[in-house]
Subunit: 433 residues, 2 copies
């Protein structure tokens, strides 16, 4: 380990020490440390110490905005202004069973607003949108910028892998935070998300900030702070930004897994699907249309008309997938039955998320393969009546050795009682700029 070369504008130790001692970082310090980290002049062990100091001592709004700008400046920026469509993007902070992007992107496109959805792969208990779509035979996540723009103009919706050119500082920092217990810092989460979204060049952005046991943000106050921080960052950067705070105490819909969630998304596009998935898809579609200035169209009518399903099929086909092909089915299943009769009063999102992950739906380390058919199917949701012995959950995997650890994750994760439990609305609050 060598100190910072004296030809640099700052010394890494002095920048770390400033945040360690609860000082505000100056604009020049932030610009330098993000740039020097991208250039490998600030070492990983220095950035992780700084990230921990930021996590524990915080950053104010000015520091977060500058940090975000520095991460955007570390790479290329995209530009959708040549499109004939208005554009709106959506980002979810991650939850269990959160397949909303799949029906939402074609629905919003069918309403006349283009959706450029640059997505990632999953790590940990929350699944990745690309992993889900890759369970469709032939579907390809990797598009060039030109292919992406062409598909966006032609179809109005594209879901593909984010190129390595957008905010490379964020890419490097995110991998570091993941192994150094510095993920859970609001300034770092907000700047990570918003640097990519602003660099991507969307005209408007709707944020789905998850709250509850299955989310990063366990309580409403933290989620609101994160939402307000991101909305301010977007607004200041000229992107019309709004956030919904939505419930993640229980999984979204009835299916968590890759092919399982594609199947449920197709149900929604066909006019069916679980009520909470439909509710959240429509709520986010209305926000995206409003943010893009398109307030004359009701997405519920468009969904019912089948036009969203048409866009879905064109979008999947354009990326090499066969939307009518049968989805993979797991080799083994294991069913958990209700231990008593009564009302399902709780079904914990984190328990289900970890169970699905351990069944093979997610990965423990970057680059690991996931199982297309693995996951959890719910047969009841909180508020539903259940009868002792009826199926409550079905676990799917190709590798039955995984059942034991998956079942361990579900211990204490559900509760059948005699209390009344309302299903409630999935949308808890709304944050605007």
């Amino acid at each position: 380990m060598t100190p910072t070369p004296i030809t640099e504008a700052f010394d890494a130790v002095e920048v770390i020490a400033a945040k360690r001692d609860k000082h505000e970082l100056t604009d020049a310090q932030i610009d330098w440390v993000v740039d020097a980290y991208t250039r490998d002049v600030v070492a990983n062990e220095q950035m992780s110490a700084l990230a921990m100091a930021i996590l524990l001592n915080g950053m104010n709004r000015r520091e977060i905005a500058r940090w975000t700008a520095a991460m955007i400046a570390s790479g290329e920026r995209m530009d959708f202004s040549s499109l004939s469509w208005p554009t709106a993007d959506k980002h979810s902070t991650g939850g269990v069973g959160d397949k909303i992007t799949l029906p939402l992107a074609p629905l919003v496109a069918a309403c006349g607003v283009a959706v450029p959805q640059l997505s990632g792969r999953g790590l940990g208990h929350t699944g990745g949108t690309l992993d889900k779509l890759e369970s469709i035979p032939g579907w390809n996540a990797a598009l060039s910028n030109e292919q992406m723009l062409h598909q966006l103009e032609d179809i109005g919706a594209v879901i593909c892998a984010a190129g390595s050119g957008l905010a490379p500082a964020d890419k490097k920092l995110y991998a570091l935070r993941d192994v150094t217990a510095t993920v859970e810092a609001i300034p770092l989460i907000a700047s990570s998300i918003m640097s990519k979204k602003i660099a991507e060049g969307t005209g408007s952005l709707v944020l789905d900030v998850k709250v509850g046991t299955g989310a990063f943000m366990k309580n409403l106050a933290d989620a609101r702070e994160l939402a307000e921080t991101m909305v301010a960052l977007g607004t200041d950067a000229g992107v019309k930004t709004v956030a919904l705070l939505t419930d993640m105490s229980t999984p979204l819909g009835l299916k968590a897994g890759n092919a399982l969630e594609v199947a449920e998304s197709v149900e929604v596009l066909a006019g069916g699907g679980p009520a909470d998935v439909v509710e959240l898809t429509l709520a986010l579609a209305r926000e995206m249309l409003a943010a893009a200035g398109k307030t004359d169209i009701d997405p519920a009518g468009v969904l019912a008309s089948g036009k969203a399903m048409d866009v879905w099929k064109r979008m999947i086909t354009a990326q090499g997938g066969d939307p009518d092909a049968a989805l993979p089915v797991s080799k083994e299943t294991h069913t958990v039955n209700a231990p008593a009769s009564g009302t399902l009063v709780r079904l914990d999102a984190m328990g289900v998320g970890v169970a699905a992950w351990r069944l093979g739906a997610g990965r423990s380390r970057p680059g690991e393969a996931v199982q297309a058919a693995a996951g959890v199917v719910l047969h009841a949701k909180p508020g539903d009546s259940v009868v002792e012995g009826q199926p409550l959950l079905t676990l799917h995997t190709d590798t039955p050795v995984r059942f034991a650890r998956s079942l361990a994750a579900l211990e204490g994760a559900f509760e059948v009682g005699d209390r009344l439990a309302g299903a409630g609305s999935v949308v808890l609050d709304r944050v605007i700029g």
Copy 2:
């Protein structure tokens, strides 16, 4: 960056997260993380995040004791029980002009207690004992354990480089802390010092904990906390340990540098030298003798007798040095004169330390060469009367280009006024187990 292999007892992220979230680390977590770091299973970027979390959230006495024990267990332990002498060691937390080890080790040996002084090289504004002795022509810091034990039995005093086998976890962690702004954490400072001293196998230990502008600990409360932590660690490990809190607001003695400090140490051994250096040498000698159970001898009498000088010459000669050789003299000097007549009311230790460092007495990065003759000579100490235009400080270097930055470090570092300023005692307080 890859996560911790699943064959390990813990995941690094979970240990970091525990301290991040202000939990106590368990004994098993501490044993694992220190061992796994030594084995390169816990990566530098993970340990630096943990170090920052420890710095900001602290460790309790049990955690610090366990951390120290784990660092001791990472390497070999030495054993002085075969010696015919009782042993006592001394450690200073580092200050400007702190050459006390040089006269102290031969003095205590001349009183009948052997002093095994495993020392380091300097980094930053506080000098290293080995750097100072290496200004003596021919002197060699590297001894094998056998050579060291032989010299200790034969002469009673040895000052040499610590072998790489003692507390390798600390060696690795110290280098990491140095570049990640995580040096200034009492639990990490205490465990670093005490792991080496306990592994070294001394029977008793006297700690010189510096307080003031030129020390790590800027105020008495922090210094006392560090001293109490280290005394408890030593006592619990069966090493009779005592600490003196001593003043480091102004340099010790009149000389700061390598050869300059050797010369001043020889003055003390010859019965002269500055009052504060003599006072602190005798105070530490009395503590070491008492800790080793030797209370019948007055070190002041032994110093006056010339016996300590005899041991010094034998000790230097045994390690290849010529105690009668002329010491290196700098090629250039620059004198700073008193700006007014009056009393020197302040002469800042940090200013003088940084000035000496920039003149070439210290190094900016590990492995850099130091100048034997570089440093600062003081012509007055706080409390002394000075006359306008008289020499106040003389700067010594072989490379005159260094004068400008050295003088910049002295700006505002001294003050001549008409206030009365007592010299005061250098020993501020005493902490026992």
